[in-house]
């Protein structure tokens, strides 16, 4: 039986086993690899069939969205008969049919700054197949924290971008080193449209970079590949670490010493909005007086609509790591944002001491 399986495996992967960059050893690395795919839309439909065909051992699909008619111009593994079904579930079934030896799992969880870290910890590589800035930031944050490589990809109109972030040490650039400000709403497919063929090209590059990373080759890492499918141009640019990037280790705390406020200082501020970015469950268990609850994903994505320049924003989470991230993004938008020093726990202690 074992011999039979080996023969079948050799036949299935014969065409890549002869590649000197893969061979028997490389195939074993792919078979042992675990990949997390965040988002199951157009990019996932383009990149995943190549990873499954190549024999990546295990793939987790994360997406809570359902298939709609407007997806079908680029999400080419879905059909009209599947409208209304969960993308992750349908994609998992489709990919399992393609190669039953690959373990395909799926989940309807949303990936964000609150849920991401424990999920990413279980995988060797993350594929960014998301379509919004907040999710890309969350992937970057989690992968930087855990030193996990990820392959960023984005498509809009006739254009695409791909980059492998290796994040093996703090000297290497991350997504935030380059994409310093939140893109406007016009940078999404629903507003500006997208060409299916562009998604496919980007997905192929994403698959190639992912396979290279799983094989241990990071020669193409930390470079931004750009495609313009209208002019058929492509170009690549080296990315460098931005020295003041808050995603890089110790800088996270050091850089934001100045915008820290203690609970007692809030009484001296005018036009203040105290914002709790913890989970809804944590908020419901207890929160600070006069606070309002906004999830960090919504806060980052909708900041221009939620806040004005005249307001003083004080952000808190359980301690302060997520607040630092939120404040960094708000400040890039020109907003007056501060971190509540020590977060919820410290503030509660200070309130109790005052009483």
């Amino acid at each position: 039986m074992f011999y039979h399986r080996c023969v079948v495996a050799n036949q299935r992967y014969q065409a890549q086993l002869v590649l000197p960059e893969i061979g028997i050893d490389g195939q074993a690395k792919l078979a042992a690899a675990k990949v997390l795919c965040v988002g199951c839309g157009g990019l996932a439909a383009s990149v995943l069939p190549y990873l499954v065909a190549a024999g990546v051992g295990e793939i987790m699909l994360l997406d809570d969205d359902i298939i709609s008619l407007s997806n079908l111009n680029r999400q080419i593994l879905f059909t009209e008969q599947q409208l209304g079904e969960y993308k992750a579930k349908v994609l998992a079934a489709r990919l399992t049919q393609q190669n039953p030896t690959v373990q395909i799992n799926w989940d309807l969880s949303r990936f964000n700054l609150e849920t991401g870290l424990p999920i990413v910890a279980g995988y060797d590589l993350v594929l960014d197949c998301s379509d919004d800035y907040a999710t890309k930031l969350a992937i970057n944050f989690c992968c930087a924290r855990l030193a996990k490589p990820w392959v960023y990809a984005s498509v809009l109109g006739w254009d695409g971008q791909v980059a492998l972030f290796s994040l093996q040490n703090r000297e290497q650039p991350c997504y935030k080193c380059w994409q310093i400000k939140a893109p406007q709403a016009t940078a999404s497919c629903s507003v500006s449209g997208v060409l299916g063929a562009a998604v496919n090209i980007v997905g192929s590059y994403q698959a190639s970079l992912a396979l290279q990373a799983l094989l241990g080759n990071f020669a193409q890492a930390n470079r931004l590949f750009i495609f313009d499918l209208w002019t058929l141009e492509q170009q690549q640019f080296e990315l460098a670490k931005r020295q003041d990037c808050v995603f890089h280790g110790d800088n996270l705390i050091h850089e934001w010493t100045q915008p820290l406020l203690n609970w007692a200082q809030l009484a001296n501020l005018a036009n203040i909005r105290l914002i709790d970015i913890r989970t809804l469950a944590e908020w419901e268990r207890g929160h600070l007086p006069a606070a309002e609850h906004i999830t960090i994903g919504r806060l980052i994505a909708q900041a221009p609509q939620l806040f004005t320049l005249e307001q003083t924003l004080v952000i808190y989470c359980n301690q302060q790591s997520l607040s630092l991230l939120a404040v960094e993004n708000l400040r890039h938008l020109g907003l007056q944002a501060f971190v509540l020093n020590g977060g919820y726990q410290a503030a509660i202690q200070q309130i109790q001491q005052q009483q």
Binding site: D128, V155, I180, L224, R242
Partner: protein, 84 residues
């Protein structure tokens, strides 16, 4: 010193546009200058907004905001892309 632009994607309309400067300036300063110039040009208002999220690159690498532009060069304008 002449800075010529090569825009990708939604910034494609910037191709062929160039500006002359008598003194070096940083990428941050150039971005602000470009936004001012485009804001008075009919049909470029949306690009002015997008420019705040664009990255600038020479032909080898993406440039930081503090990079000094001090010679004739082509700047690639890389727009934000967030779809999938």
């Amino acid at each position: 010193m002449k800075i010529s632009l090569h825009g990708f994607g939604s910034m494609r309309a910037l191709r062929g546009i160039g500006f002359e400067f008598v003194a070096p300036l940083t990428v941050r300063e150039f971005r602000a200058y470009l936004q001012t110039q485009l804001s008075i040009k009919p049909g470029f208002s949306e690009l002015v907004i997008l420019l705040s999220s664009c990255a600038f690159a020479n032909n080898e690498q993406v440039l930081t905001e503090d990079t000094l532009l001090n010679k004739d060069q082509l700047l690639n304008v890389l727009p934000p892309v967030c779809g999938g």
